[in-house]
Symmetry: C2
Subunit: 150 residues, 2 copies
């Protein structure tokens, strides 16, 4: 097992993941009928996560109902887990140009021009955890209550 990284190194690695081209995440949301989980393209813009979903998608409905998501990035043995709150959900055509530009740059497609309507969600991280193996479970919290603790 490799040596545990320092919190500072984990933050740097986490930001590198968040800024990666072709960033994908497992996005979980919940409703009274249970958990939902889908892989989605994600952009990192102004310290928020940007995702796009179809209006009828379970993820869209759950975000509207609960305002919350939990995202998993990376491989299962080099993970970043993010609890996030919905800041806004808007039809793609009404999304801010800067949000769309970030999404297009990082995800390589334009949700305004997808042949079907899409909803763009801006999610603000409130808690970020990062760990690889069991020796990194300690000190895994990088953000708490919306503030970086590292």
């Amino acid at each position: 097992m490799p040596e545990a990284r320092t919190p500072e190194q984990r933050k740097a690695d986490t930001l590198e993941k968040l800024n990666a081209s072709e960033l994908d995440a497992w996005v979980s949301t919940a409703s009274t009928s249970g958990p939902h989980l889908v892989p989605l393209s994600v952009a990192w813009h102004a310290e928020c996560l940007i995702i796009a979903t179809e209006p009828s998608a379970v993820t869209t409905r759950n975000l509207a109902a609960t305002g919350r998501a939990r995202l998993g990035l990376g491989e299962t043995r080099d993970v970043v887990v993010i609890d996030a709150e919905v800041v806004e959900s808007t039809p793609a055509n009404d999304a801010a140009n800067a949000v769309i530009a970030s999404y297009l740059a990082q995800c390589h497609w334009d949700p305004r021009d997808a042949g079907a309507p899409f909803v763009v969600h801006v999610l603000r991280p409130v808690r970020i955890l990062a760990w690889r193996e069991v020796n990194e479970i300690a000190e895994r919290t990088l953000m708490r209550d919306g503030h970086w603790v590292v």
Copy 2:
């Protein structure tokens, strides 16, 4: 984009993933306070998914409260998504020997001997979806209502 696989090929690929050594999955569960998501080791035993969690873990509490999980396997562009129901959750020391043997063989650790108590959960898949890129969204359902449709 590679050509879409046949449903039969997707089932074969899915079973290969489920039988892999060192199988990990993103496991989502839900409670009234929102979605939870963690990466966990998984074993495939008698057409059920076996996971082990600590008694105080959020996953343990959510499974007890709702009896449901949704698991994501694989990379985000070659995925298997499984909705599953809890068949039973037992302290590791009370789990069936065959269940423990499968877990040990596939996950390489023994939840009866982990230095802390663990709960072993047997989850029965009720719905299995498998897809790679957008051209595999059609025909992604391999199991419905607990029965393979392929």
